[in-house]
Amino acid sequence: MADTILEVRHLMKQFDDLMVLKDINLTVHEGEVIVIVGPSGCGKSTFLRCINALEDIQGGEIRLNGELVSKESKNLAVIRQKIGMVFQSYELFPHLNVLDNITLAPVKVQKRPKEEVREEALALLSRVGLSDKAESFPRQLSGGQKQRVAIVRALCMKPEILLFDEVTAALDPEMVREVLDVILRLADQGKTMLIVTHEMQFARAVADRVIFLEDGVIKEEGKPEQFFDAPQTERAKEFLKTFTFERKHKE
């Protein structure tokens, strides 16, 4: 089996009195694509945010290549460079154009030469079909375009793992595809990814492993075919049912 990139052990997360994540364990290997599904409020997004130390945790530990990821880490900024994150609401920087959005962190944080980063950014932009938008500002882009830029921005840091937090949830239906296609291609390139999504067809296509999260625990885990075609738990069956439609009384 490939090398372990991310190791989550007994993760616990509490908001005031509410226990959001209870004892989560997960091992992510290099090149693996893991999709996390589950009902709203089950803690999927919180889980991703914990991995990037955007939340403090109440128990357990998260290790990236053996290194502890924690809000208290002295070199947290260094660790975060290795974890790419794409948000539901894009979160591009509105005062910078597309190219500057992408090159800001590689140049200022990783201190890479500006020219080299620029070329790489342009190459990545053309791969996602946005070469002509390099000089545009975020406000001039559609949601789908913004999200593709956000993905390129994360990629340009050459992260070891990418986290996608419901990246198509804010998009119009016809823009969902252009973003998901990009992620599918990244999967083909062997990128290690953790994806939270409500797009079940996409989840099935992209995942190496599906994790079903509910009430803060992993209720079920398996290959996509197994999870979608023959879910083991009642809760998973019920959850999957919410994605199919049928009329009770057909004339």
Binding site: R49, L54, A77, R80, F93
Partner: protein, 219 residues
């Protein structure tokens, strides 16, 4: 209207306008720096300094500039610090303006969603880099109308400098009225000179606002 009088004393007003601008600009630049320092202290939550900043802002905002000037002009020499009127004017303006600028910057920073910070952190930016490259440019854009209003307000506040015998525009006008009783002409010149200084500032502020208006438009 006695135009002869106006022409004769125009140079005096010009001189006073230059002084007003000099003190105004120096005081405003210092206000900006104090304002930035205050928001940095508040943002980094530096203990003790943070409490000092809060006290400073409340004192500075809630006392009239005239009183602040008196304290600097008459008070400092009492504890052995010699001051000249110009330095007093600049210090007074900076003391007053600093809190106004700090509050304007703060409102700009608070208008930025937490997730913009997180987006920057997740790219590996440190707190300082996030503030410098991501938050402040947007905050300044949002605060621009308030900052421009502060600049205009502070320039107008220079009119109380006459109280500490600075020969600014107001001082010149009052002086000439006292000497010649040409009240209409003197006040007319005063208004014209204030407008000459402030209208361009107001206009430039508008243009700047428009140029920097990117925040809040589609992240």
């Amino acid at each position: 209207m006695n135009w002869e009088f106006i022409v004769k004393y125009l140079p005096l007003y010009q001189k006073a306008a230059v002084l007003t601008l000099k003190i105004g600009i120096a005081g405003i630049i210092l206000s900006f720096l104090i304002g930035l320092f205050c928001v940095a202290v508040q943002n980094y939550r530096i203990p003790i300094l943070r409490q000092i900043v809060v006290v400073y802002i409340e004192i500075s905002r809630n006392t009239p500039l005239l009183i602040q000037l008196f304290f600097i002009y008459y008070g400092l020499p009492k504890i052995g610090i010699r001051t000249d009127p110009e330095a007093c004017g600049i210090a007074g303006l900076a003391f007053l303006g600093g809190s106004y600028m700090a509050e304007a910057f703060r409102s700009g920073i608070e208008a930025i969603d937490l997730i913009q910070f997180e987006s920057a952190y997740s790219l590996g930016l440190t707190r300082r880099q996030t503030l410098m490259y991501v938050v402040l440019p947007q905050a300044v854009s949002i605060s621009m109308p308030a900052l421009v209003a502060n600049v205009i307000f502070l320039l107008k506040e220079t009119s109380v400098f006459s109280a500490v015998s600075l020969m600014d525009l107001m001082f010149t006008a009052k002086d000439l009225i006292g000497l010649y009783y040409q009240t209409t002409e003197c006040l007319f010149l005063l208004v014209v000179f204030y407008l000459l200084i402030l209208l361009p500032v107001s206009l430039a502020g508008r243009l700047l606002e428009r140029r920097l208006r990117y925040a809040g438009f589609g992240t």
